[in-house]
Assembly symmetry: C2
Homo-oligomer: 254 residues x 2
């Protein structure tokens, strides 16, 4: 049974303050929780229906402190419109990040992304394209918010997301001579640019793009050209990230 205290704790994890206090976050749903159990993350406990427990006992052992609950109890605790059979309470990962780990790979840097759905989508894209690290400015939406976890479809358990002071990180990146790309409406046509296989790609805020203080660190400004007399002024940042990552990675296989 789900105690009132546990329910309260779960609800507190919907907010960043609660997550920081408890040093935990939530993941919901059969697919995403299964991804968490397969990952290096420490799953503190599961709240699961007998259906989930039975179907998963052979796939991967659930943590010993699994609380069996009814579907109705899951519904009370869940944030989802269509609650599934399991909610996991998971430890926040240790914060450890050194800029030198970005050498010799392709990395995304996000400057103040605000929409949790966009951040989750970007983490999922990064995972698809084999990108191991995402840097986020401190004012980017928290990657452990339930909506981000949901939109990432479990990719959050594989891609490392680091929140850092973006300016000082950019300074160190320049010292290491890692090339820095950024998307701007008036940048060079990405399809005609020469693109390296390693470096940093900065994507900017939904409304305002890349901030002025970060734009100083960008070596090459790129853009996705529009075709025809489109009236659309910009692409969604998730869409733009997908197209840019595909273009950088495509070059590595031809």
């Amino acid at each position: 049974m789900l105690s009132k205290n546990k329910l309260k704790l779960i609800q507190s994890l919907n907010h960043k303050k609660g997550r920081e206090k408890e040093n935990c976050f939530l993941a919901e749903g059969d697919k995403i929780v299964t991804e968490a159990l397969k990952s290096n993350f420490h799953v503190d406990y599961l709240i699961a229906t007998s259906e989930f427990i039975d179907s998963h006992s052979l796939l991967c052992s659930p943590p010993s402190n699994t609380i069996e609950v009814t579907k109705k109890e899951i519904q009370t605790a869940s944030l989802l419109q269509s609650p599934q059979n399991v909610i996991a309470v998971i430890h926040l990962p240790e914060k450890s990040f050194s800029v030198s780990s970005l050498n010799n790979q392709f990395t995304l840097a996000l400057d103040s992304i605000q929409d949790p759905g966009n951040l989750g989508t970007i983490i999922r894209i990064a995972d698809w394209f084999g990108i191991r690290h995402i840097l986020c400015s401190e004012d980017t939406v928290d990657c452990f918010s339930p909506k981000v976890i949901q939109a990432s479809m479990g990719a959050i358990f594989r891609v490392k997301v680091h929140f850092t002071d973006m300016e000082s990180t950019m300074k160190k990146i320049k010292e290491l001579k890692i090339p820095v790309f950024g998307t701007f409406l008036d940048g060079n046509n990405i399809f005609k640019e020469s693109l390296p296989s390693t470096g940093i790609l900065v994507m900017g805020n939904e409304g305002n793009g890349i901030s002025e203080k970060i734009s100083h660190y960008i070596d090459k400004r790129i853009t996705i050209p529009s075709f025809g007399k489109s009236g659309t002024e910009s692409l969604n940042v998730g869409t733009a990230t997908a197209i840019c990552c595909a273009e950088f990675k495509r070059r590595t296989i031809i």
Copy 2:
């Protein structure tokens, strides 16, 4: 002032049944309604605050039957979490579609897309890449649902979306010898395929991909390869559409 009858009518337009009965749909928010006013769509009337009316009277004349309301009245009628200053009631466009209009261009076909956010995103992508027509199977989510309009960011007023019986449309497309591409998890690497500048690209349902009955009409099965040992099983259909459209269109400029 907003009468009870008008409020009731507006609320009925949130549902497909209501839209079909009234032959109208809703668009909300300053940016999207401005796009509607600039388009060929027939805006029946606006429900707007004085703020909207004042700021837009010079840009484009609002229809004569604009109802001035308070911000609070907009909030009562609005579906948005942060209501803006205007709601438009717009006539549904005439249904007219002939397969021969797809000759000599690049067109998207959607087989049972269910999520309104995904459909809206795809319409926005189509607009960016100069794609003029989108074909939808009859079981695709309605393109005039408020969430689709919102996610399209106004692109719905420029891209023509046609709901047709997909199988009979595909038959006619084959008779015209228009090449048909489709995305499958086991398709050929899109980045290594030869791609024409015109044709049809079919994108499938979020969970199940392209249905068997439509897959028979596909000449070339393509896929977006994943990079590294990603655990992500698939990309979101909006993301995949963006990458595919970019790749087809990129080839036309190199």
